[in-house]
Symmetry: C2
DNA sequence: AAAGATTGATGCATCAATCTTT
DNA sequence: AAAGATTGATGCATCAATCTTT
């Protein structure tokens, strides 16, 4: 194995990421629940739908873009439909599939939650970092991420 | 709120971390299971016990140091006792508490698993990164982590 | 009463099976 | 048969209650 970096750095970075994630995700989730009345999974779906053309996405595509398993997306969208934030729209071009589409209530809920979410990330994740740290972190994590699928493990 | 960094960078870094974690952790866990016959949670506990003085740690301290909830530690250590990798040792100084201690079999299991684990981290996490990337990532994540508890949210 | 730890009950995420349409 | 999606069953993680010792 040819190595271009020291093992220690890669390993420590990995360990630090695991610990940081384990601390921050439950914290942010609980705080978002408290302040905005919705879990992180809801926010994630609302965010992606809000950014999408026509505020709607096929269930399949939503599964690709969101940090949830494709199966989980079905459950979460169900919850959001119950809450009145999303509606299911049949796809006229392919009747196997369906769109999830943000309702006006869903758009409002997202707009109310967004600044609270941003504030939580700033405080809990961003505040110990300098401008350069944040920029660098973004760049390196994006690079690691880009190497991703197309990944043929095994 | 005084800001020293651009929101975009912090937010993108956060999103990238969520996505990278969501992709890598299940992958590493499955691969470690396949190659070494143990889940990540076992490895984590074995690693910490192996590094500890006398290869043993109070359950409480193990909970602090490991990426698992204190409750979960009880379950995982139970599994490891069943597997013969860990034994429970009463604490003579305080009979409320107990030590988890690595058995010789546990030490061997850890020694066999460690190079496989390292290789998985190198391949899936480290390979897209340069030496500088890894070093920087380590530094910045460690900084974010250090800011952590002592954290008075709410 | 608080610290250290475990455990029954619950809730959440995933897997495999299933359904419909292409 | 494969694509898109859902759902019943299962397995894992957490919460709250509990137990023992300090």
């Amino acid at each position: 194995v040819k190595e271009t970096w020291r093992d220690d750095d890669v390993l420590s970075a990995w360990a630090a990421m695991l610990r940081l994630h384990a601390r921050l995700v439950p914290l942010i989730d609980a705080e978002l629940q408290r302040l905005a009345g919705m879990p992180l999974a809801w926010y994630d779906v609302l965010l992606e739908l809000n950014a999408a053309a026509d505020k709607s996405l096929r269930m399949f595509d939503l599964g690709e873009v969101v940090v949830l398993s494709r199966t989980r997306v079905s459950r979460v969208v169900d919850e959001l439909v119950q809450a009145g934030f999303v509606e299911k729209v049949p796809n006229p071009d392919d009747r196997r599939s369906a769109f999830a589409k943000l309702t006006p209530a869903g758009t409002n809920a997202f707009r109310r939650a967004a600044p609270l979410y941003l504030e939580l990330i700033r405080i809990h994740f961003g505040s110990p970092l300098t401008a350069g740290d944040a920029k660098t972190l973004r760049r390196v994590l994006a690079k690691a991420l880009a190497a991703g699928p197309g990944d043929n493990s095994t």
